[in-house]
Amino acid sequence: MNKLKVAWYWCASCGGCEESFVDLSEELVEFFESADLVFCPVATDFKKEDVERLPDASVDVALINGGIRLSEHEEMVKLLRRKSKIVVAYGTCSSWGGIPGLSNLYNKEEILRAKYLDPPSINNPTHAVPAERTRLTKLGANLELPAFLDSLLPLNAVIDVDYYIPGCPPTPEVFKNALKALISEKLPPKGSIIGASDKSLCDECPLNSTKPEKILLKELKRPHETIADAKKCLLTQGLLCLGPVTRGGCGALCIKAAMQCTGCFGPLDGIADYGGKAISFIGTIMDYSPAEEEELERAYSKIKDWVGVVYKYTLPASKLGGRVRREKTKRQEEAEIDE
């Protein structure tokens, strides 16, 4: 049997997804019995040229983790798309943007300012920010860096994606299931989420039996405000567990540690906008009538960053994609001049 040729590339990534590969531990031996890594910058010393030299569609599976934040990422994933038969978005960032996707609440200038000019811990007298091209006058040379894109994009906004493996990061179990699906005779339909469950987290939650028929809350609690009872449905304790709208398959790891689900496995099938669905579900369990507007406002104001709660992992893939800005974009201004 021919070995599966696998490429693994990282984009805007924290390293967790790569770590999850190592977490296969003993089973890595098995993995390498059936697969060869042809490109994997985190572990091996292949260069871009090596990938360019490969014939088109010669890589069986390309696993790509992290969101698209730099022109370099864009370039590399387009190259890998050309060279690969199957492209898999590995992990939540690649699938929907992930936590770094919350940066889409700000534009490029605001991010660079917050990172390089404003921090009190940075001494930057020349107001230097990374530029795509820097002229080094003494050396008479140009220094080039990849461009920082206007927003963070999920992988499928840049290239055609065949499958998605969810998780922040995916658990070894999920990864193994996904690999099994990829090497099976009959591949799942294109666009499928592989390795995880088709049901909500509640379905596999060990506390599900303690969940009452109807949950109604007067007050929401943040994790630091309470010591959660690890044997009782966290929602009934006022902790905003997003299990009901989140895909299962993680094995309820957070719940087992008395920590509410924050939604890293992303939306269930049929949910077009995870945050919208989360808002819908939260609205269902808040126990206030329209006559109690102020009281409800007070209950909601307990959580300081709602976007960060309902869109923690999916903002770039949401309907609005990020902040709806009122400033005119360059393109709009140009279009107006053309008119």
């Binding site: 889409n104 609440l105 534009n107 894109l149 206007d150 927003s151 994009l153 906004a157 949910i271 077009a272 906008d273 945050g275 919208g276 669905k277 808002i279 819908s280 939260i282 609205g283 269902t284 808040m286 206030y288 009538s289 329209p290 006559a291 507007e293 409800l296 406002e297 909601y300 960053d305 709602w306 976007v307 309902v310 869109y311 770039p316 949401s318 309907k319 609005l320 994609g321 990020g322 902040r323 709806v324 800005r325 009122r326 400033e327 005119k328 974009t329 360059k330 393109r331 709009q332």
Partner: protein, 144 residues
């Protein structure tokens, strides 16, 4: 050509109260701005926040969710309660994402309140004219 800009409003209204009111406003030939596109739902409780987001993503400058008067007009007993709680949270999220409060309204309009419907449409159109179009920064952001 200097035509005045009219905002685009999408209204999600319930079949039993607000839709009937809007219908009555029409058959009574009440004057109202042509800024509203109505989507009839069985209940304001069916107005999934995803619908509102979809409307904004597709170019709405404002969104109305309207249903039966609380506490007890709702055909489905508590649909309007749910609409209310979802609205309050969604408005918060939208505000953090740069959508002004005035662009998203929740109204209770009964089947006989055609006049109120017209008033809501009129005042919201005025508000949105003041605010101007909701411009989305579409550079690099894929809106499906």
């Amino acid at each position: 050509m200097n035509r005045e800009w009219t905002p685009r409003i999408v209204a999600f209204v319930c079949n039993w109260c607000t839709y009937a009111a809007a219908d009555l406003a029409g058959t009574s030939r009440m004057q109202q701005p042509d800024s509203v596109r109505i989507v009839r739902l069985m209940c304001s409780g069916r107005a999934d926040p995803q619908f509102v987001l979809e409307a904004i993503a597709n170019g709405a400058d404002g969104v109305i969710v309207a249903g039966c008067h609380p506490p007890s007009d709702c055909h489905y007993q508590e649909g309007n309660y749910r609409a209310f709680r979802r609205f309050m949270l969604l408005r918060r999220v939208l505000e953090s994402m740069g959508v002004e409060k005035e662009r998203f309204r929740l109204e209770w309009i009964s089947a006989s309140e055609a006049r109120k419907w017209v008033e809501v449409v009129r005042s919201m159109t005025e508000d949105l004219k003041r605010l101007g179009p909701l411009r989305r920064d579409e550079e690099g952001i894929k809106v499906e």
